[in-house]
Symmetry: C2
Subunit: 159 residues, 2 copies
């Protein structure tokens, strides 16, 4: 039982580490160990999501610093939604859908608001995009939130 779990975990990490987006951004395999920035629910896609951030990103967001400093990385992780079998008013995560990253480097990614984008889809974490031009699609969608450092997500508040 423990061995099976370890093998599964090892296999997952190897799969994740292999993947690189066409613009050169490799998957960050520890994104599920980062702190929470926020949850979200996309009713149009039937996705439920969490956004996590590395230490640099979360520290800046908690302090209200914007734009985020170089080295900030955010992950948006999406699962297909399901109704909870014992409690159908609750919508909960089912199968993994994708994980997306935004990586801050003001110089390297100056043409896209200082952010590098990457998306890895499905259980094989297939990198999104035929070539590096796919980022035009990502960035285009984020232009309406330029005033929030191109981020749709705001960090949750707790008392």
């Amino acid at each position: 039982m423990v061995c099976a779990a370890l093998l599964l975990f090892a296999g997952s990490t190897v799969a994740a580490e292999k993947q690189v987006s066409p613009n050169g951004i490799a998957i960050y395999p520890d994104y599920m160990s980062w702190k929470v920035v926020a949850p979200s629910y996309r009713e149009d896609k039937g996705h439920i999501r969490i956004i996590t951030g590395n230490e640099v990103a979360v520290a800046a967001l908690r302090a209200g610093r914007k734009p985020l400093p170089d080295g900030s990385v955010l992950a948006k992780v999406a699962w297909k939604t399901e109704k909870h079998p014992n409690f159908p008013v609750a919508t909960v995560p089912g199968a993994f859908a994708q994980v997306e990253f935004m990586v801050k480097d003001a110089k390297k990614y100056k043409d896209t608001g200082g952010w590098g984008f990457a998306r890895f889809v499905g259980n094989d974490l297939k990198p999104y995009g035929k070539d590096a031009s796919f980022v035009g699609e990502c960035f285009g969608c984020h232009i309406p939130v330029a005033g929030n450092d191109y981020l749709f997500t705001k960090i949750v508040k707790t008392p």
Copy 2:
């Protein structure tokens, strides 16, 4: 700016540390630094949630160990939902609603499945329940998921 953020943070921590549930469970002030177990969305209440867990709980959940060992603590954090102002198909967290804890101690809480329950409501984190009998309400709702160690939440899977 930095000073204001620090004062706000200090104030929050003090407020959180003061609160104790009628059954003696004190708030765990670091629950937003714990790892993610899952997001969820309650359409009936208009709440969006994240469930986090301390190291003991997350290690057990990731390994598929059930029942969870003593020392496991889970936090369910709820915010009122809002439509994203720039992107209304996305439902996102607004005002903080409440945080709930489940604390595993098989002996201490043997009458309620080995779990102690606590809820802290609103921005003043008011402990829920007039006296310790409030846990009957919590436990009653969790009986249908006795087969999952009384947990509605399952940990999310990622490849």
